[in-house]
């Protein structure tokens, strides 16, 4: 356990080395969030409710989605694909006394820690600056269930992303599949830009059959108190199912990939 803690600490230090770089990265995120809020403010101009969402609920969703993106999507697992291609995976993981999943998860924790710290600070400033109405749940149980769904979502995303990187065992260039599934599908189908229930019903139901909505949309719906108890438990059951599925599938793919693997040099 100690070694993974050290890895997380090193990843954190490495992450904070280039301060100007971090400043620009955060500035970009702030402007992006700012523009998204400005967009929804234009949509809400003179209206109290839209798509069944009140102003307060929708702005909470937008801010919440940006916080959950930092918490769930911040990851360094994409590096694994490059390491597989370059052969680095051999001397960095296979010949070392640690588990590749443990190493990457430790690195992810460090990145998530910085991301969530900055995102919370930025969200606070934007809420104050733009005087955004924010919803706070009253029941303690809602907070617990929301936290549980976020916790499971972090692991679900980790294994999903890990699996995508493993395609490097079979494909020469993994940039496009990662971009297609990891960025486009994920952001849209997870509800990272807008609540999924504004989509036409059949499309919404189709998306609900995939694991993506459980990463952002589902936890936020719990937070907003828009789901009944039964729906929450059913959602958490499905989220756990997807998690177990991806854990097993990732392990199987890793072992299959290693059998298939022949790196050059090193």
């Amino acid at each position: 356990m100690k070694k993974y803690w050290r890895i997380a600490k090193m990843a954190l230090e490495e992450h904070l080395v280039y301060r100007l770089n971090i400043f620009l990265w955060r500035f970009r995120n702030v402007v992006f969030l700012f523009s998204l809020i400005a967009f929804w403010q234009a949509v809400f101009a003179g209206k109290g409710e839209i798509f069944g969402y009140q102003k307060q609920q929708l702005f909470t969703y937008v801010i919440g989605a940006s916080i959950l993106k930092a918490l769930v999507f911040s990851s360094r697992v994409a590096d694994l694909a490059g390491m597989i291609k370059s052969g680095e995976v051999v001397h960095k993981f296979l010949l070392k006394p640690w588990q590749v999943i443990g190493v990457f998860f430790s690195r992810d924790l460090a990145v998530k820690l910085t991301d969530i710290f900055f995102t919370l600070a930025e969200a606070f400033v934007l809420i104050k600056l733009m005087r955004l109405p924010i919803y706070w749940p009253e029941e303690r149980e809602t907070i617990w269930l929301f936290s549980l769904s976020c916790f499971l979502a972090i692991f679900l995303f980790f294994f999903l992303s890990f699996l995508l990187s493993l395609t490097a065992f079979w494909v020469d260039n993994v940039w496009a599949p990662r971009w297609l599934f990891g960025a486009i599908f994920l952001n849209f189908f997870a509800g990272a830009f807008f609540p999924l229930d504004i989509l036409p019903r059949p499309l919404f139901q189709l998306i609900n059959l995939t694991p993506f909505p459980y990463l952002v949309y589902f936890p936020l719906k719990i937070y907003l108190g828009q789901l009944k108890r039964g729906e929450i438990y059913q959602g958490i059951f499905l989220l756990s199912f997807w998690l177990v599925f991806f854990v097993l599938f990732t392990r199987w793919t890793w072992q299959k990939g290693l059998k298939n693997y022949s790196p050059w040099g090193g």
Partner: protein, 270 residues
């Protein structure tokens, strides 16, 4: 311009064409990649379009822009984005050249060093441009835009101007690597354009700082909004003038910063 200078440009252009052919052939090696990225592009464009449509089912206008007008803007934006990413943002590559020492060899090539260092051809983005053209043509029909040759000509000139602006800004971001080794987020910062250029400036009217920024330090309004306004007959002479002035300013600044950066550059060689 002297005769040898014209010949020099022709030579550089021939080299560029040969290079484009090479990049295209290399691109064809990875067909699945080409397919996946094209699919992603289509999904991205139509996903945004569907979201807009859903919103316009509930509202009549967004910051004074109707669905049809937004469609014209979105068409121009995608056309710009596709062509810009295919040909015009090669300046971002400069950062890699500087970091990895590849700039030394570029500087030694006979011809225009900055042109070679910033030339770009991204086959993947061709799909984006084509879809942009289709949306634009469709939007002209939907918005029942009256064909005024003068307006269309001016919009085309403004679009060319916005390619130049993107080219200069991409070089500025790339050149920053002369001073900052790790400037990945400078280049990431460039992609803010992707986010902001598709929104009418009226969206930011209530936020004075951002409103000022999109006309000055982040001049995204001149990219697609001003050409779209010209086509829609909402011409603002000051905005048009501003578009040209901003491009001239960034062109001048780019040349200066490039010269300053070269003086500072100490090659690593490869």
């Amino acid at each position: 311009m002297k005769r040898w200078e014209i010949e020099d440009w022709f030579h550089s252009f021939r080299v560029y064409l040969a290079w484009v052919k090479m990049v295209w052939l290399r691109h064809l090696q990875y067909r699945f990649n080409a397919f996946a990225s094209s699919l992603g592009t289509l999904f991205w464009i139509f996903g945004t379009l569907i979201t807009y449509r859903l919103i316009f089912n509930r509202v009549n206008t967004l910051a004074g822009w109707s669905w049809q007008q937004m469609l014209v803007l979105y068409g121009i934006y995608n056309l710009w984005w596709g062509l810009m990413n295919t040909f015009f943002n090669g300046g971002l590559k400069l950062a890699d050249y500087v970091r990895q020492g590849g700039l030394d060899s570029v500087l030694l090539w006979p011809g225009k060093a900055l042109f070679y260092a910033s030339m770009k051809f991204e086959p993947v983005s061709v799909v984006h441009s084509l879809v942009g053209v289709i949306i634009f043509l469709f939007s002209l029909k939907t918005a029942a835009v009256e064909f005024r040759p003068g307006n269309f000509f001016l919009a085309a000139v403004l679009l060319l101007n916005s390619f130049l602006l993107a080219y200069f800004v991409s070089i500025l971001f790339g050149v920053s690597s002369f001073w900052w080794v790790e400037n990945r987020n400078f280049t990431e910062f460039f992609w803010l354009w992707e986010t902001l250029a598709k929104y009418p400036s009226e969206f930011f009217a209530d936020h004075k700082l951002l409103y000022w920024a999109v006309y000055s330090i982040l001049p995204v309004v001149f990219i697609a909004v001003v050409p779209a306004e010209v086509i829609l007959g909402k011409t603002r002479p000051m905005a048009i003038l501003g578009a040209f002035l901003v491009t001239i300013f960034f062109g001048f600044l780019t040349q200066k910063v490039w010269s300053l950066g070269l003086k500072r550059y100490t090659g690593v060689s490869r």
